[in-house]
Symmetry: C2
Subunit: 153 residues, 2 copies
Amino acid sequence: MYRIGELSALYDIKADTLRFYEKHGLLSPSSRSDSGYRLYNQADSERLKFILRAKAVGFSLNDIADLLSIEVDKSNRACADVKGLVDTKLEQVEAKLAELQHFATSLKSLSNTCCGGPDSAEHCSILEALESSDKHIIAKKEHHHFANLGHKD
Amino acid sequence: MYRIGELSALYDIKADTLRFYEKHGLLSPSSRSDSGYRLYNQADSERLKFILRAKAVGFSLNDIADLLSIEVDKSNRACADVKGLVDTKLEQVEAKLAELQHFATSLKSLSNTCCGGPDSAEHCSILEALESSDKHIIAKKEHHHFANLGHKD
DNA sequence: ATAAACCTTGGAGTTTAATCCAAGGTCAAG
DNA sequence: CTTGACCTTGGATTAAACTCCAAGGTTTAT
């Protein structure tokens, strides 16, 4: 059992944030002490881990509440409802995954292209790297190099 | 060349959002018309695409500005600086990727476990799926099924 | 040449997600 | 039995990221 200060320290967040999540229905302590202190158990801690992970990959607290609602009232929901909700979120997750893989590829190619030395980074740009990785995916036959890009007005 | 309304329609955002990004140094139109209307070219559009993608995977506008600064002053930066920045962001992207893959796995397993029918979803929970996928990764030798989980006081 | 649909600016308002504050109760150590 | 670290509540404040508004200029279509 953790008290609010212990759990918040564990995940490097503020106690206030836990109270905030509670107020907004994301995470309630499974019990209270005689004097009213919040007491969080291991399951609560897991739930918090989930919330923080989901937040880190760009889901809003509302999105997360949707997902967690499966947990909360699972015995009141039909499997079909759950499946629908899950499949919708899965699509979102997979879209994000695709985006991130795209980013990772571009960043890696940028990191490799870049000499890493003290010279001017004239040919180092995320956008250039993204563009060339787009090219790579969309039309890998064309293979020219853009030197004079991004020079506006 | 797009006017603000055209570009915003293209990406399904508000014109105000584009003005906001401009004010905060994320995206400026490459030119203006005689009467002062903003005119965005293809490169501007690509840059916007990048911003929106990065946002969608959980980067803040500040993070994104950092990344884009590589583009803006690349001739004033040493390759070593660029490489440092890129490698830092790459680490963040890869951490997010790992999280998302974890989510995707859990959601898939949940979707598969779930009968999808009109019955009560007693055994369908994200947290249960996450937990069992944790189990799967951490100790895949143990292979039992958790029926009585998530039953908190 | 005038309405409708678009654009300009500056500034105010909203939403989301915390974070802080004040007044007071709790608990372990000395 | 009091001191200090911790907890309670409700309400105010902050920061980020928009989103809206008002007053006026511009374009295009009739």
